[in-house]
Subunit: 180 residues, 2 copies
């Protein structure tokens, strides 16, 4: 897991992959599957939709910290498993053999098996819409990983895998940050 | 463009495709490329991030209406074109040969060339974060269209095309709405 230029971390969320969001409360790690995410700015800030119906919500809002981890296609059954049980009665890291790694800025763990991880601080909770605004404070990418294709949850029980990549850098030059 | 069960419209946005958002102001149509979108609830509600830096912002916040259109891979160069010029000095529908279709509930036009369209009303503007919350009031899908693969903007000038679809409906049954 190599440290990544934080200015590029928004590119992990902008394509809309399903994510695993980890939290930590009183030494207990938990993780939830979230596909309702959005970039809010390049610094980077992100929004996620979650609420009290998720067991992790309390830990997330109390600790005001989390990690957004990006799983790849080989982890699909873990993603589905994590998303269909509750931390209330399941140690999900143990059950789905996910390996927590200590981050630098937050107590919530990175997930070793994921291709990328973003340590995040909660900057705002918009209760009216169940939107939580996060600021990414550090990002990591597993450059040694061969499988890098992410998953896009459709919401009907199917998932679309990343296909080919099309390059329009030249046409978009005027809109791109100077870092690309 | 066939009317679609509104309860399924969230599945158009959940996978995170790049979208074209249309507006109408004083009889003038405009369209912008937006990839910072998120589902907020199943009714459906959506969040998008946009602000005064987008020429469409004024029309969107004044009319409190828009259409979210979903382009497919064959429209990539139109998507990039729309995203790299401004409605301030360009008639984008004309320039990129997009065909506006009259919707039923909003003045903003559907885009005929897109595989899906969602008529939306603005329900909230969260100025602090440049987040606009929308309610989908009608959705349409072009079932006659052969090419259905959508695009995922990475943010560095590249776009990932939808690859294969993996089915986990059985494993996710407990989490799915009864409509699937």
């Amino acid at each position: 897991m190599k440290k990544m230029d934080l200015r590029k971390a928004f590119t992990l969320i902008e394509p809309g992959p399903v994510t695993l969001v980890t939290t930590s409360a009183g030494g207990t790690n938990n993780v939830m599957t979230i596909s309702w995410t959005m970039v809010v700015d390049f610094t980077p800030k992100f929004a996620i939709t979650t609420g009290p119906w998720n067991f992790s919500y309390k830990a997330l809002t109390k600790s005001r910290e989390c990690v957004i981890a990006i799983p790849t296609v080989d982890l699909l059954d873990k993603v589905v498993g994590v998303g269909t049980c509750s931390g209330k009665d399941t140690d999900k890291f143990d059950t789905f053999r996910l390996t927590p790694i200590k981050g630098k800025y937050v107590e919530a763990p990175l997930i070793k098996e994921c291709v990328a991880n973003i340590e995040c601080k909660v900057v705002d909770i918009i209760k009216k819409h169940d939107i939580i605004v996060l600021e990414g404070v550090a990002a990591y990418f597993d450059t040694s990983r061969k499988e890098k294709r992410t998953l896009h949850a459709v919401g009907d029980g199917t998932f679309v895998v990343d296909g080919r990549t099309l390059d329009r850098k030249k046409q978009m030059r005027s809109k791109l940050l100077g870092i690309f």
